[in-house]
Amino acid sequence: MSTYAQKKGFGATLWDFLTTVDHKKIAILYLIAGGFFFVVGGLEAMFIRIQLAVPNNDFVSAGLYNEIMTMHGTTMIFLAAMPLVFAFMNAVMPLQIGARDVAFPFVNALGFWLFFFGGVFLNLSWFLGGAPDAGWTSYASLAIASKGHGVDFYVLGLQISGIGTLIGGINFLVTIINMRAPGMTYMRMPLFTWSTFVTSALILFAFPPLTVGLVLMMFDRLFGANFFEVTMGGNTVIWEHLFWIFGHPEVYILILPAFGIFSETFAIFSRKRLFGYSSMVFALVLIGFLGFMVWAHHMFTTGLGPVANAIFAVATMAIGVPTGIKIFNWLFTMWGGSVKFTTPMLYAVSFIPSFVAGGVTGVMLASAAADYQYHDTYFVVAHFHYVIVGGVVLAILAGTHLYWPKMFGTMLNETMGKITFTLFLIGFHLTFFIQHFLGLWGMPRRVFTYLPGQGFETANMVSTVGAFFMAVGVIVLLINIIVTSARNVRVGNDPWGDGRTLEWAIPSPPPFYNFKQLPLVRGLDAYWLEKMEGKMAMTPAEPIGDIHMPNASFLPFTIALGLFIAAFGAMYHVDHKPWALPVMVIGLLVTFASMFLRSVKDDHGFHIHKEDLIEKTDKGVEA
């Protein structure tokens, strides 16, 4: 079964990836798809900044601007940041807990394909009559009034990709609960695994409200219901609640894995265990919990009344405390350490001031009475870009450099990495810092242009220039990836030299069964402990034996594909197109037939035999 060492043709490789259930390959799929959507969302961001560079610009029209702005937000959150975070979770978490795969490899693949087809569906709107234009929040009154199929693409696309995310989250939860290696207690889990755990729990509770909202809106728009139709007794504020009950935890779904990646980075490149490990874990859980208690701070100006506003203001401020704990713990992880400034570490170090800036504006926004001024202005735009770009995107870039060798077996070029870092960081601050002031000077967000003579010109120009720096930084990263992939210099188990956790104890990339023998975990930073005792590898917790592996399957692809097809039918059914209903039926048939096939066909997987494993070790061609 070891197809690893052989060179394969393009067709075979493609088929391999279409049918894979291996968490490492699914991670690569997430990375490629998420990276692609990141570039798409980035292009949309560039169009936004070009349009706003000068007042009264007509680079894009008003309606098109709203589509670009909506798709920028939706793409970046749902199709870029989340999948990229999922890529690292898939690639690293099972290795960190010493597992051979996730609990449900088939479901893992299904999750990816659902996300992928949902994302493709959403983006096809560009070619099929116009993208959604009601903002990524898609507030009901505007979304219901929006003409064309734009918002339908949003509603259906996000439902499909949302199912993918939800089952992905459940899968991670089960994996972490059930599949930890011997000795890997909860309080010995690496912080990235902990953040995956908490994030998955957030996904489990946050995505259902979004799905409910989307389903209600789907019924309103496609099947003539009136949940949000005020004249028919509907209520649009309900949408705001449903959206933000999902939407606020969502930002923690993004930032907690970022915290995880940085926690690993700080510890590795300071050669020091994480300072205050238990309080870090506690803070993670607390942030996750409080994240569900604060959604209405996005609605301070909706008119919920002073009691609600006061309660949610104070609850929101409370989140500042665990976040502050984390910041200081990271600083003190470096304190007394031996800090090496590699590219991932540069991202981690620069994350601290960037994220603190975003965090403190978050506390400012929590002050409800003052928020009446900030709300829906460029101040908010600046704030959430400081936390999302300054937190999540920096973490994704750090993670890309940090885990690239583990995922692909070759290092990204450090010099080019540092060039990307410099350009990106400068560009980021140049773009977004000034936007705080734009907001306070009276510039509302989501405006397609502004009139001259309001004092917005210079600041907007500065912001646009900054965006170009970021764009060039990303281009350098892409070149870096191409060049290093072409050179393909292979690396060993622990390419950074300072790896602390289990993933660095096995080859890069790991063999498809990850661990020949499950490792015995003797404490936090298991691999580091062994290294400090002069051992080169983990102590095995079991004798070499047969390894049970799942078979590859094409069914996840077809299940997702069926929903993708059905969505077109559902959408065009409104236009009374004669082909719409058959298409919907065919799509659902494909999905259900695939599910049926999966249920009736007994697939017991296969075993890698003990002899094969031993043989490989002897010949020294492991992996």
Binding site: S61, A62, G63, A134, Y139, S141, L142, A145, V230, T236, V237, R271, K272, R273, F275, G276, T301, T302, G303, P306, N309, A310, A313, M317, A318, V321, G324, I325, N329, W335, S338, V339, K340, I352, P353, A357, V360, T361, V363, A366, S367, A368, A369, A370, D371, Y372, H375, D376, F437, L440, W441, G442, P444, R446, V447, F448, T449, L451, Q454, G455
Partner: protein, 355 residues
């Protein structure tokens, strides 16, 4: 010596100018508060910024120390593995809690103060305060004074140094009513009526040329960016005379010049179905589908965004879509010749209630 003093003065002024420009325009910026509400919010901004700058300072100091002091010098060094420090951890848990309490208390107090609209709902006439019903529509604003029985659009007129209570509602999609220099915003929902109050400071209004900029702050469609309005904040006596002048317009004012008369004729054929030229609020809300134009000649902008000139009026009527994409006016009236436009603009610019 004298020259030096002069230079000092100039540099002082330029620094002052720089700081002031860093605070934005007096008619638009939340950093140039021009009323009690904005003042309160500015106070909270300053307090929170102060606390946050303190936090940033502490983090920065530790950060710089760490980054400089603990660089790896020798590749073989293995630092001591520290688990944590309970005292420190308690310290950076408790201090932030205290700092947040300092911010939370005035926040909660102000939230309740700003939500206090009790006076608005009391029975009988309002003497010490003004009540305005704001109705937002796709890309224009209507301001109704229920106590005074008048309606105006696009340009809100209010007395200074007096509490102005607003009730907010939207007739199509959600918008948000915001006058940055005077106070924070509140959404105009389609579902319910929201209420809040503002107060316009006399001196600050003067500095701002008595004209504040208002904005729509909630995405509402293609022309969301262009849904501006203006607020004329004037003294009580001037406000009173404006009100009585408005009230005097019982039926449409008659144009005087020949050209304007011709324009009025066109207006009563093509425009009056949507645009009223009397300020009465007797017509039901649903029938008021376009901005009231009673005092159009005295406003400062055409359609809320264009300069207030005859040429711009003509350009606007000729092709509103060019200036406000997605507006509800385009195509509601027949094409007009240049001569007709000229007459119509002449008539509209002459619509004044005060001299």
């Amino acid at each position: 010596m004298k020259r030096l003093a002069k230079w000092r003065l100039i540099s002082l002024f330029s620094i002052l100018a720089l700081i002031l420009s860093g605070c934005g325009q007096p008619y638009l910026s939340a950093l140039r508060p021009a009323g009690e509400v904005a003042e309160m919010q500015y106070g909270l901004m300053k307090l929170s910024t102060l606390i946050m700058v303190g936090v940033i300072a502490v983090v920065t100091v530790i950060f710089i120390l760490v980054v400089i002091k603990f660089r790896r010098k020798d590749d073989s060094e293995i630092p001591k593995q520290v688990e944590g420090n309970h005292k420190l951890e308690i310290l950076w848990t408790v201090i932030p809690i205290l700092l947040l309490l300092i911010l939370a208390v005035p926040t909660v107090a102000d939230v309740f103060k700003l939500a206090d609209v009790g006076k608005m709902d009391k029975k009988g006439a309002h003497k010490d305060e003004v009540v305005v019903k704001v109705r937002s529509n796709l890309y224009w604003w209507e301001f109704e004074y229920p106590d005074l029985g008048i309606v105006t659009s696009q340009e809100l007129v209010v007395p200074t140094n007096k509490k102005v209570y607003f009730s907010l509602h939207s007739s199509d999609v959600k918008h948000s009513f915001w006058i940055p220099a005077v106070g924070g915003k509140m959404d105009t929902n389609t579902d319910n009526v929201n209420k809040f109050w503002l107060e316009f400071d006399d001196k600050k209004a003067n500095e701002a040329g008595n004209l504040f900029y208002g904005k729509c702050a909630e995405l509402c469609g293609p022309s969301h960016a262009l849904m501006d309005f203006k607020v004329r904040a004037i003294s009580q006596s001037k406000f009173d005379s404006w009100v009585s002048a408005m009230k005097d317009v019982k039926k449409p004012q008659q144009a005087t010049s020949e050209l304007a008369q011709q324009g009025q004729k066109i207006f009563s054929q093509s425009c009056i179905g949507c645009h009223a030229v009397t300020p009465t609020n007797a017509t039901p809300e649903k029938a008021r589908v376009a901005p009231n134009l009673t005092n159009f000649g005295e406003r400062s902008r055409v359609a809320g965004i264009l300069p207030h000139t005859k040429e711009d009026v003509k350009a606007w009527i000729k092709n509103p879509e060019k200036f406000k994409p997605g507006n509800k006016m385009t195509g509601k009236y027949p094409q007009m010749s240049d001569q007709e436009l000229d007459a119509l603009a002449e008539y509209l610019m002459g619509l004044k209630v005060q001299d």
